[in-house]
Amino acid sequence: MSAKVAAVHYEDRIVTAFTAAAVLWTVFGMLAGVYVAAELVWPELGFEQPWLSFGRLRTVHTHSVIFGFGVSALIGTAFYSVQRTSHVPLFAPRLAWFVFYAWQATCVLGALSLFAGINASKEYAELEWPFDVAIAAAWISFAVVFFGTLARRRVGPIYISNWFYGALIIVVAMLHVVNSLALPATLTKSYSLYAGAQDAIVQWWYGHNAVGFLLTGGFLGMLYYFLPKQAEQPIWSYRLSIVAFWAFVYTYIWAGPHHLHYNAIPEWVQSLGVVMSLILLAPSWATMINGVMTVSGAWRKLKVDPALKFVVLSLAFYGLATFEGPMMAIRSVNMLSHFTEWTIGHVHSGALGWNALITFGTFYYLVPRLAGRPLWSAGLANVHFWLALAGVMLYVIAMWGAGVSQGLLWLSLDELGEVRYGFVDVMEAMAPYYALRLVAGGLFLAGAVLMAVNLWRTMAGIETVRVAPPAGALAAESGA
């Protein structure tokens, strides 16, 4: 029996693989972002090459950071935490490796197809139908591995992080399949099953819930597992986390129409989107307060642990983004903010301030544990922290300045009631903000590169540590 105990261990090599992939995608995706930011300052950087044009490169940027970086980080951390909260190794480990290779291949080939100009013209769902089929296959495999592991768990309750990861898997599967339904014309071209306003509603039902269940829900799963681990104490209020989960899941799914204010969709649909967006503030902030109070009990760890700082800051930006979002969903605010750089600033306060920082904090905690030795340089991680903070603050301020100016200029009329400023006038006014944004993006990217070096040096030449499930769990298994 002792031989059996020694043989059972968590499947963590795949976590290392997903983490490494996520770090590479961070650097590549943010580099693409900085490049398109530079193109807005110096348009000649497109060199008249179609594949380097803003239109193509911008989708490569969003694709790489959301699906390459974000989803790789989520699948990796889901695999890590579901084993530990279930006290069993991963179900169907070979299928888990299939998820890894299928996902990475889809992301790489998908990015190449976007460079080539193959594009389904749906925001955050740009990949053409063969990729959609591949994504569905990889995602269902992810679901089988995750829920299979949960089904075999040796712990009674299902821990809250798994509820969020579970919601991510189920809802994203639903969103992806419904939004991607299309009639293929050729291998690289398909036509959406929906038309006109219907297509817009389905697209933003998908788009906003991708933000909701992937960039918010999925990363809350990460927060709920890794924050208590880093703080070495339980969540401040477990009950609040459960209430917030159900309120979050129920409310988020209705909020999509706020992307379509003043458009050709029924007004009541817009109003429903506004009301649900406003209600959404409650579960979002309940979660933030839960996180902040959990950390506030763990302040003694702040000095020794660079990872926790990232988490603290990510909670502040989570609070900002989840307040700003409902506010921008109000029609009379949206009137000014829509289509302006303010939206870009809002997205980045969430994407850089929340998603990237919580993931960086998690990686600084996770990688030393996968390697079985301390982080290569805590000092470098601290430098990264300040670069990230400066980058995200500067980014958001630049886009607030640009967005509000842009909205005001677009809305200003001359004596005859005509639009006073033309497109070129407004673009000229934007130029200095775009330069500031480029600096901000550069700072954030520089921090991410430092992290990549730091994590690589921590892990280089080392096999992933083998960790066995707690003895009690195995004893229960052999006794059963």
Binding site: V292, M293, V295, S296, W299, R300, L302, K303, K309, V312, L313, L315, A316, F317, G319, L320, F323, E324, M327, M328, I330, S332, V333, M335, L336, S337, A390, M393, L394, I397, A398, W400, G401, V404, S405, G407, L408, L409, L411, S412, L413, D414, E415, L416, G417, R420, Y421, D425, V426, E428, A429, M430, A431, P432, Y433, L436
Partner: protein, 205 residues
């Protein structure tokens, strides 16, 4: 009887030159809220609206296109509203700090919180000299470094003035920044809603 910190406008210069000394003095002898407000904070709060009034009346708003010129009564109303908002920002932040104090083991003295918030605001208040030429991007360029300076003063000063462990102070300062970010973005939202309802200056016709 020991003399408490002289709350004159000169304090602004001292907190920029040697913040550590000022913060320690404040921690040793926390002044009353009324003295902080009338002796120091109020004068600081007057600066940005004053600069904004002079700048807008002289040059008009410059958002990167032709200047937007507004009538003097409108500029006066906007500057007064600006003052009220800054006042609200100062008092609400100090109150939030006092409300959070128990969680982070910090001093619950309102005078100390108010003094801290006022001192942290010094770089921004002085940086508002950029309002004398209300070009949007120039103001961003001047106020961003001022903001960084203010954040530095907050992180450095909070644990000293409110007497808590630096690590707990770091958390509390971050929570205050979260509040300020939300307050700032609410301000943007409220302004836009008012504008949408026709309250506020008309740009153009």
């Amino acid at each position: 009887m020991p003399v408490s910190v002289p709350l004159s406008p000169l304090l602004a210069a001292r907190v920029l030159r040697s913040p550590g000394v000022v913060f320690t003095e404040l921690a040793e002898r926390p002044p009353s809220a009324a003295r902080v407000f009338f002796g120091f904070a109020l004068w600081l709060l007057i600066l940005p609206p004053l600069f904004a009034f002079i700048g807008t009346a002289t040059f008009g708003w410059r958002l990167g296109v032709a200047p937007i010129v507004l009538p003097v009564p409108v500029i006066a109303a906007i500057s007064a509203a600006y003052f009220v908002l800054l006042l609200f920002g100062l008092l609400s932040t100090a109150m939030i700090a006092r409300w959070m104090a128990k969680t982070y083991g910090a001093s619950e003295s309102f005078g100390a919180s108010l003094a801290l918030v006022a001192l942290v605001g010094v770089p921004l208040a002085l940086g508002s000299v950029a309002h004398l030429y209300p070009h949007a991007f120039l103001n961003v360029l001047v106020l961003v470094p001022a903001l960084i300076w203010s954040m530095y003063l907050l992180y450095r000063g909070l644990p000293v003035v409110l007497g808590t462990d630096p690590r707990r102070g770091m958390l509390m300062a971050s929570s205050l920044i979260a509040y300020l970010l939300v307050a700032w973005v609410s301000l943007l939202g409220v302004t836009v809603v008012l504008w949408g309802r026709g309250i506020g200056p008309r740009i153009g016709a």
